[in-house]
């Protein structure tokens, strides 16, 4: 526990602190950039982009060794990965535009083929005598062990720049994500904005290679965005909530990973993000499962209550046990189903409202008002006091239950 708290407050050593801050920044950038991808319904493009970085890493290494360099310079490797990721993106776009293959087939094809090519290049690198042990495999799953200060700076600066770019581009990207045809009509170049959006995703992927690896960076782009969608229906809030969820999972994941042995950073970050997602899925207000269940229960109770009262008004027995329980709890009937005085009064009110609605439908031809009749909406919410008085005038004086 102490090690966890140390790590949480950045006291667990210089390297761990660097990793935590870098992970938080990366998580924020991934969450906010991934939101647009999710809203554009192209979440899995990020998977292809991530896998398409692998051949770039291999090529960059080979080229750098060939030029007499070390081959392990992070910036060089990231530049190579960005190059092939970009080629992969353009290929997906080209395949979907030029052929009749659907986008999912294009994504899968680019993903599998680039990854295969990357593995081929990795085996080439392994057999190169000049390469020493390149350790390029760490890009598959990420590795924070022995992360240098320069690497952390690359992640921090890159993450900040991505967040800044997301902020600058948020308006056109939101527009395209929601309604690309409207955006085109407004004079935006949809294709270019799509590519910019993908460029941001690619930037996040490349920056995250070292930290979480190319297989799991996809999770940081998708999960926070999906999570944020549960909490709000407003696009600008989704972006920042997703950023916050991503940042929190990045930071917490790095902290947990630093505080215990055999806790690889990338997977832990993803699992923290997934935990936040599951909590949101069930407990978010509005779109969460629990909220939906409660909404359904409330609706059910209102329907049963009303049908029960209508039955009382018509002096039918109530046979539904749930309805009886519901009315008994309110003191409207006795447990055996016989109405109390309060129950009779409520029943008379419901029955009278029903007749008021009948009159309302005759008097008002305005479907916008009478169309709101669903048997549950109180008539007082739809019509004014004066209008209801008018209905009552036409109905005649209130009647006792027996007279209905």
């Amino acid at each position: 526990m102490q090690t966890f708290l140390d790590a949480l407050f950045l006291q667990a050593g210089y390297n761990a602190a660097l990793v935590s801050i870098g992970a938080a920044l990366l998580g924020f950038a991934a969450g906010s950039a991934g939101t647009f991808l999710f809203l554009r319904k192209r979440a899995l493009v990020s998977d292809a982009v991530a896998h398409a970085t692998l051949p770039g890493v291999g090529i960059a290494f080979i080229v750098m060794v060939w030029l007499g360099g070390d081959g392990r310079s992070l910036l060089g490797l990231l530049a190579g990965s960005a190059l092939t990721a970009w080629i992969g993106l353009l290929l997906i776009e080209w395949i979907t535009r030029r052929t009749r293959l659907a986008e999912d087939a294009a994504i899968g094809a680019v993903l599998g083929v680039f990854f295969g090519l990357g593995v081929v290049l990795l085996t080439v690198v392994q057999s190169m005598s000049a390469g020493r042990q390149a350790g390029l495999e760490t890009f598959l799953l990420g590795s924070t062990a022995g992360m240098l200060f320069e690497d952390a700076v690359v992640i921090a600066v890159g993450g900040s720049l991505t967040v800044l770019a997301t902020w600058l581009l948020r308006r056109p990207m939101t527009l395209v994500a929601f309604d690309s045809e409207y955006a085109a009509a407004m004079g935006y170049d949809v294709r270019r904005i799509d590519l910019l959006m993908m460029g941001l995703v690619m930037a996040v992927t490349v920056i995250g290679l070292k930290l979480v690896g190319l297989i799991l960076i996809v999770a940081m782009l998708i999960i926070p965005a999906v999570t944020a969608r549960f909490w709000t229906d407003r696009s600008h809030r989704v972006i920042w909530i997703a950023g916050a969820a991503g940042g929190a999972s990045g930071y917490l994941g790095a902290v947990i990973s630093a505080s215990a042995p055999s806790m690889p950073t990338g997977p832990i970050i993803v699992l923290v993000a997934a935990a936040i997602f599951v909590v949101s899925l069930f407990f978010a207000p509005g779109r969460g499962v629990l909220a939906a269940v409660m909404r359904h229960r409330r609706f059910q109770a209102r329907v049963h209550r009303r049908q029960g009262l209508l039955a009382l008004a018509a002096q039918h027995p109530i046979r539904e046990a749930y309805t009886v329980r519901l009315l008994a709890r309110e003191g409207l009937v006795r447990p055996d189903g016989v109405p109390t005085d309060a129950g009779r009064a409520q029943a008379a009110k419901v029955a009278r409202d029903e007749r008021r609605w009948d009159v309302a439908r005759e008097v008002h031809q305005d479907a916008g008002l009478t169309g709101r009749y669903d048997g549950l909406t109180p008539i007082e919410e739809v019509f004014t006091r004066d209008e209801i008085d008018e209905f009552d005038r036409r109905l005649g004086p209130p009647m006792g239950l027996g007279d209905v």
């Binding site: 899995l44 030029r98 009749r100 659907a102 899968g108 599998g112 081929v120 297989i215 799991l216 499962v289």
Partner: protein, 310 residues
């Protein structure tokens, strides 16, 4: 092309061909149903499946691991459906959430348990090791008739051959149902075909094929073979039966050429070491798809004029 070929190359090539065909057949229908990425998702969740199977049984045996992987694949399909329905999330994102989470869990469990003495690691799972599946006891083509030598074939060969045969039989038996349910689900239901069950069966078959292929050749081939050969075949013809035959041909060609390029290609360039065969097979399938995209007779969308498609 003598004894050495039979000893070192024949079995890997056969395993590669069977794996490629077993994946490409269900891939045809997945592509037409716009579910191509299910193959990607399945190949990611295979890892947690085999890790959990290893933890439960404590041994690196093929059967429990395949059961574990198949279980994980089916669990993933169910979870994706649950997330999609419960959260009203579009299928792609739901898939992304589920398979990355399961993969992360698999990596974590693997790191947490001491598996250093057994050969079970992530890279091996991803890349496979087709080259190592050689036939030690063979000493020429005559060994094909020698029961003693045949008994020493690598276990992966009969296993993947069996699964491949199973997939072929299933495709033939359910051909009509698959065809109708894939193109017009409503019509299929009107005919009394259990379309939902056919869809789920297709997923399970794809999972079984993926797991068996994964066991022999790693997950790269699985992803590439689910998509590339059928996608290339889709650009060659408008008839489903022809498309399936094309995809089988492309899958076979990828496996053979990929293995040959990986094993002998570097030697032509004066290099010493072979490169990854699984990766090369995937690459060749991508080149075939690229050629089909450029020159396939039915590459454009129906109804789209050449200007529009360009």
């Amino acid at each position: 092309m003598g004894a050495e070929f039979v000893q070192f190359s024949l079995t890997p090539i056969l395993i590669g061909i069977f794996a490629a065909i077993a994946c490409a057949l269900p891939g045809n229908f997945l592509i037409l149903r716009r579910q191509a990425l299910i193959g990607d998702a399945i190949s990611h969740v295979v890892l947690p499946g085999i890790v959990v199977a290893f933890l439960l049984t404590g041994m690196v045996a093929a059967i429990p691991m395949m059961i574990g992987a198949a279980g994980a694949a089916i669990l993933a399909v169910i979870l994706i459906e649950a997330v999609k329905r419960l959260g009203q999330i579009e299928p792609g994102a739901a898939m992304g959430v589920v398979f990355t989470t399961m993969f992360a869990a698999g990596v974590l469990i693997l790191e947490q348990t001491d598996t250093s003495q057994v050969h079970l690691d992530v890279e091996h799972a991803l890349m496979g090791n087709l080259e190592s599946l050689i036939w030690f006891r063979a000493d020429g083509w005559g060994s094909l008739l020698d029961p003693a030598a045949l008994a020493s074939l690598p276990d992966e060969l009969p296993r993947i051959a069996l699964v491949c045969a199973l997939v072929v039989v299933l495709t033939l038996v359910f051909w009509r149902w698959l065809k109708i349910a894939t193109f017009d689900e409503g019509f299929a239901q009107a005919l009394g075909i259990p379309a939902a069950a056919v869809g789920f069966g297709l997923m399970v078959t794809a999972a079984v094929a993926a797991v068996a292929a994964f066991d022999a050749v790693g997950s790269i081939i699985v992803i590439a073979m689910f998509i590339c050969p059928p996608a290339a075949a889709r650009l060659m013809t408008n008839r489903l039966a022809h498309q399936v035959w094309w995809s089988v041909a492309f899958a076979t060609l990828s496996a053979i050429l990929g293995y040959v390029f990986a094993g002998y290609g570097p030697l032509w360039f004066g290099a010493q070491n072979a490169v990854s065969a699984a990766g090369m097979i995937a690459t060749v399938s991508g080149v075939i798809l690229g050629l089909a995209c450029l020159f396939g007779p039915h590459r454009s969308r129906v109804g789209a004029g050449r200007d529009e498609a360009a």
